[in-house]
């Protein structure tokens, strides 16, 4: 018996192709397209686990059937199709794959050598023309350790040196020689922007604008004014072109500009804005600015003061992506509290996300969520694990524009699934199996003989049994 039916698999394909066609406008469809195609594998029946579905629901003693890379059925006493692998998950917890909305894996890889510090194009305060994917080193061993922590999708962002840092990219956490082989098919890019201390410090220290917070805001606004003109020129051009006739024949296309392509994409709603911003007052300024120019902020990242404006964020449909306990490393993080995540969640329609921004944190986002959950509970908030699970699955998926395809255990979604040895909200919880699109990418009982990263190949042994 199937308990949950939401999106038919066919819809997923349709939605994906729709997403791709929307990209055609001033700019061609993604010129660096995803080449990721999940391997075709036998069906998998995960039998009898406790499901935290990612939607806020807990289902005890429930089966999940994976077929064709998608979640085909959820229920009790499901029948294994012919040739299916049956996994006994009794006593285990089954969750959607974890999604990290803020990572610099690949662009600030391990080892952190000077020749691979490729995350900040800190040569001008606005570099909307750069794409993080062009900096990604797929051999970063951090992808593997993140996978072992249950991360199946992640957004790689440019750093925060710049007011507008460039485009981020959403990846599936799968082995590949190229980043195109990891690229989440059809996922929109993200636009990385940064408030506050970083841009004004980086450029102010070179005696260049911006050197103040007001300089920051003037810098963004000038860009949006240009981007609106650019978008209007292209809209006019395309309207005349499609009207046809003699005028269309003689039309000259506006000059293409990579920087303005990206900003126009944000104005059209095709590129969700992912904005690094710590302080409550600055987030409020950014919300006003988004209304001034007509773009949508998907998520405030870091947002150590999001709890102060939890209602305002929820009313504006903006998520906050936060750490569980970081504070005090710089002035704008001085008011960070451990209840931040749970307070953002507690606002009606609040959207709380736990992010890492760290090659260490991404390995244990379940524990970061656990810390936040425990603090929320101690503050009197009713946050059971199934609710906290949303912070690291469906909420980031939605903020990335992939929430219709992954981020929860629902029929028709991608089979991005983790089996844990216990409920994941514990220091002691470990992943046992991690599936991406139905393919078993990590199995703790059968660790790979060789590391996934070429960099670690032939280096001193990292794994294996205790000597």
């Amino acid at each position: 018996m199937s308990l949950i039916r939401k999106i038919h698999p066919r819809w997923i394909v349709l939605l994906a192709s729709l997403g791709a066609s929307l990209m055609a406008h001033a700019q061609p469809a993604d010129p660096y397209p995803s080449t990721y195609r999940p391997a075709v594998t036998a069906p998998v029946l995960i039998r009898g686990g406790t499901l935290l579905t990612g939607t806020g629901t807990r289902l005890a003693n429930t089966d999940v059937l994976i077929e064709g890379g998608l979640i085909a059925a959820i229920g009790t006493n499901l029948v294994a199709p012919a040739g299916a692998t049956v996994v006994d998950a009794r006593g285990r917890t089954v969750t959607p794959g974890i999604i990290d909305i803020h990572s610099h894996l690949g662009v600030y890889p391990s080892p952190a050598v000077s020749s691979m510090q490729d995350g900040n194009e800190a040569t001008a305060p606005v570099t909307a023309n750069v794409w993080a994917e062009h900096s990604i080193w797929p051999n970063d061993p951090g992808f593997q350790t993140a996978l072992e922590g249950g991360v199946t999708s992640l957004e790689i962002l440019p750093g925060s040196a710049n007011l507008i840092g460039g485009r981020g990219v959403v990846l599936k956490n799968v082995p590949s020689i190229t980043y195109q082989g990891m690229k989440f098919p059809g996922a929109p890019h993200g636009l990385k922007m940064a408030c506050g201390e970083n841009p004004k410090r980086v450029y102010g220290s070179h005696n260049q604008a911006p050197s103040t917070r007001m300089g920051n805001v003037a810098g963004y606004r000038a860009q949006w004014i240009e981007a609106k003109d650019y978008l209007r020129d292209w809209t006019d051009y395309e309207a005349k072109l499609s009207a046809g006739g003699k005028e269309a024949k003689d039309l000259k296309a506006p000059k293409r500009d990579l920087r303005l392509d990206t900003l126009a994409g944000a104005l059209k709603g095709e590129i969700p804005v992912q904005m690094h911003c710590y302080r409550a007052d600055e987030m409020a300024t950014m919300i006003d600015m988004s209304k001034e120019f007509g773009f949508r902020i998907a998520t405030f990242h870091h947002a150590t003061e999001a709890y102060k404006i939890a209602n305002r964020l929820a009313e504006n449909g903006i998520c906050a992506a936060m750490w569980a306990d970081w504070w005090g490393f710089k002035m704008e993080s001085f008011d960070g509290i451990q209840e931040n995540i749970s307070l953002v969640d507690a606002a009606p329609n609040g959207c709380a996300i736990v992010h890492s921004d760290s090659e260490e944190g991404i390995q244990r986002l379940n524990q970061e969520a656990a810390k936040a959950m425990a603090r929320g509970q101690a503050a009197g908030l009713d946050i059971p694990p199934e609710r906290a699970m949303r912070w690291i699955s469906l909420n980031p998926a939605r903020a990335l524009g992939i929430g219709d395809r992954t981020g929860s255990i629902e029929v028709g979604k991608m089979a991005d699934i983790v089996i844990w040895n216990m409920e994941p909200f514990s220091s002691y919880a470990l992943t046992e199996q991690v599936y991406v699109d139905g393919v078993l990418q990590f199995d703790r009982s059968h660790p790979a003989d060789t590391p996934r990263s070429d960099f670690l190949l032939g280096q001193p042994a990292l794994r294996g049994d205790l000597p």
Binding site: P111, A370, L381, S427, R463
Partner: protein, 413 residues
């Protein structure tokens, strides 16, 4: 729709009084010196621990608190770093963590910058942290940094002043190289020179690098009265430090130790303790290629004495160290050794015993936890430091309460 807001948080216990007697009973007691005691009691009289065990009865007039299986532990170690000398890491005016004097000053003691009112102390204290090792951060070569960082001090989070230096801190490996002409071998050269000058003080008119006080500090190290904390990660560098320490007759402690598991036998044979960050899993640089989450477990298996510290020196992160210990357990270390790695072992290694233990006759430095202290979901429910019960409030709980109240009214905007 059901409201997420429940009844406000209620403190599990009333605040015990420092004068008089308090009996915590029916708890799980981890003393740091032996096995965890189930269904046991701790008796505190006038701020001192007067009994630990099953058969403790309450003196007349004692406040008796039933723990219902909650945990009692010593106050925890907060790691090696800038506890008490930093408010906001990136604000230079609030950060006395480093030193760029431009000459070699082994006698430099950061304790004189220690501020017991520092906010990171206030915030770590309500999270069960009771002591830390205050160690200077390396300077830079350009501004006169040296492989000898200076002295480190055990600091307590109870408002008291530091107790005097407990180790000399030295940078080796890649960091040492950056302070020694860009060659890690020269770190040993600079160190040898300094020790030589301490052994044979220059006569009048002879060249000298050290002050009288600097030579006196190094003489304390050479006499074995004070250990040297070598910050080093690469297996080959650790071996070189062990050889150097043996030649110079130094008491070595290794900090960093990302590849220490590869030289576990040597470390155990030399009785050299190792302080590692058990959350490290990646080859963060070429000194740490063989980093593994099993470092702690493999060192335990080799018989090495292990303590934990996060790699970060930020006192803001001290409260996270118990999570790191829990992860060491998840990756194969015994619970008991992981617990001692954030209690008894660092206290003993840095000469601060009986801190890090629950010891009858000593002042209470203890924490009552809602559950296993190495689990991230367990929280502090009561804390005693230096025989005084502590209020579990901080600037951060004040911020929480202010905005939780606004949020309940829908006014967090």
């Amino acid at each position: 729709m059901k409201s997420i807001f429940g009844a406000g948080a209620a403190l599990a216990f009333s605040l015990a009084a420092s004068a008089g007697s308090t009996l915590y009973q029916h708890g799980r007691i981890a003393t740091g010196t032996g096995p965890v005691l189930d269904d046991a009691s701790v008796l505190i009289v006038d701020g001192r621990i007067r009994g630990i065990g099953r058969e403790i009865s309450a003196p007349a007039g004692a406040e008796v608190i039933d723990l219902h299986g909650r945990w009692v532990t010593p106050a925890l170690f907060g790691g090696i770093g800038s506890m008490g000398v930093v408010e906001v890491s990136a604000e230079r005016t609030t950060n006395d963590g480093g030193l760029n004097l431009g000459n070699v000053r082994p006698e430099f003691d950061p304790a004189l910058a220690f501020n017991p009112d520092s906010l990171p102390i206030q915030i770590a204290r309500v999270e069960g942290v009771g002591f830390a090792l205050l160690a200077p951060e390396p300077g830079t070569h350009a501004s006169g940094g040296n492989v000898i960082d200076g002295l480190a001090d055990v600091v307590t989070l109870d408002g008291n002043a530091p107790r005097g230096p407990s180790a000399l801190v030295v940078e080796m490996g890649r960091e040492g190289a950056s302070l020694a002409g860009d060659n890690r071998a020269a770190s040993f050269l600079l160190l040898s020179d300094a020790f030589e000058e301490a052994r044979h003080p220059p006569r009048a008119g002879e060249p000298r690098r050290l002050t009288d006080a600097g030579r006196a500090t190094l003489q304390q190290v050479l006499s074995g009265r004070m250990p040297v904390l070598f910050k080093v990660d690469r297996a080959a560098d650790i071996r070189a430090v062990l050889r150097f320490s043996s030649q110079q007759k130094l008491r070595a402690i290794i900090a960093g130790g990302a590849e220490a598991w590869r030289v576990g036998k040597d470390l155990a044979a030399a009785h050299v303790p190792v302080v590692i960050d058990p959350l490290e899993a990646l080859p963060a640089d070429f000194d740490r290629i063989a980093t593994t989450l099993e470092n702690a477990a493999r060192l335990e298996h080799a018989g090495v004495t292990v303590a934990f510290s996060l790699r970060s020196n930020a006192p803001h992160e001290a409260r996270k160290l118990r999570q790191a210990a829990g992860n060491a357990v998840a990756h194969g270390m015994s619970w008991e050794k992981a617990f001692c790695a954030i209690t008894q072992v660092p206290a003993a290694a840095f000469g601060a015993a009986p801190l890090g233990t629950l010891t009858v006759g000593e002042k209470a430095h203890l924490v009552v936890w809602s559950g296993d202290p190495l689990n991230v979901t367990s929280l502090v429910e009561a804390q005693w430091l230096d025989g005084e019960p502590q209020r579990l409030t901080s600037r951060q709980t004040a911020l929480r309460d202010r905005y939780l109240d606004k949020l309940r009214r829908g006014e967090a905007r």
